[in-house]
Amino acid sequence: MIRVQDEDFDIGAEITRMTEGSTEIGGLASFVGLVRDYAGDEQISSMTLEHYPGMTEKQLERLEAEARERWDLQDVLIIHRYGKLDPGDRIVLVVTASPHREASLESCHFLIDWLKTKAPFWKLEEKESGADWVDARETDSVAAGRWVRVSDT
């Protein structure tokens, strides 16, 4: 399941909802992305996430489908927030559930790597020197590239 929302999420409640009554699940892997309070050597007072309504949902659904096709997963949850966030706020939650740990751990890593470069979000950081759009990082595209299969190229 995917959700795009401006409100916060409760990690414990989300995991409880996923596992309640699903005793076939052997393990969950989760990743939580947070707003840092610095960029380089500058303090950040807030971060605003802009996204492309409509396309965002489509892309996240596609990422979920890709993870389910590659790994034996019993459940997938992706929650991505948008709007103005403060340092320490939660931005994104990825939870994957599988009978054995490899599938959930690997697919969680895959999903967060691909979210970085394939989910239509843009981040504006408010700093003392003014507002700056966050540049895509080369290391993120390298991380995403690790998951490209030979058969896809």
Partner: protein, 83 residues
């Protein structure tokens, strides 16, 4: 044609959405970027480096040589920074 801008493309252009009718010889995303460059200072700034621009046509990621037509929704934006 509905055109959408995000991230620094939007702030440089000055708005996030507009309805435009590019001339007939604008047949691809690359043509559109090139044509937009001539639509004013904000556009010239936003599209000065075409290689830095990513695109989606009808909400699907599209390369610069993708064809576009009347009625399409075309979005132009910097590389995505999700997660």
């Amino acid at each position: 044609m509905q055109i959408l801008y995000f991230g620094w493309v939007r702030t440089r252009v000055g708005h996030g959405k507009e309805e435009l009718s590019p001339p007939d010889d604008v047949g691809t995303v690359a043509d559109l970027i090139d044509w937009l460059k001539g639509q004013g200072d904000g556009y010239a700034h936003a599209f000065e480096n075409a290689a830095a621009i990513r695109a989606a046509v009808n909400q699907e990621i599209a390369p610069h040589d993708a064809e576009i037509a009347d009625g399409d929704e075309v979005a132009l934006f910097p590389p995505m920074t999700g997660g």
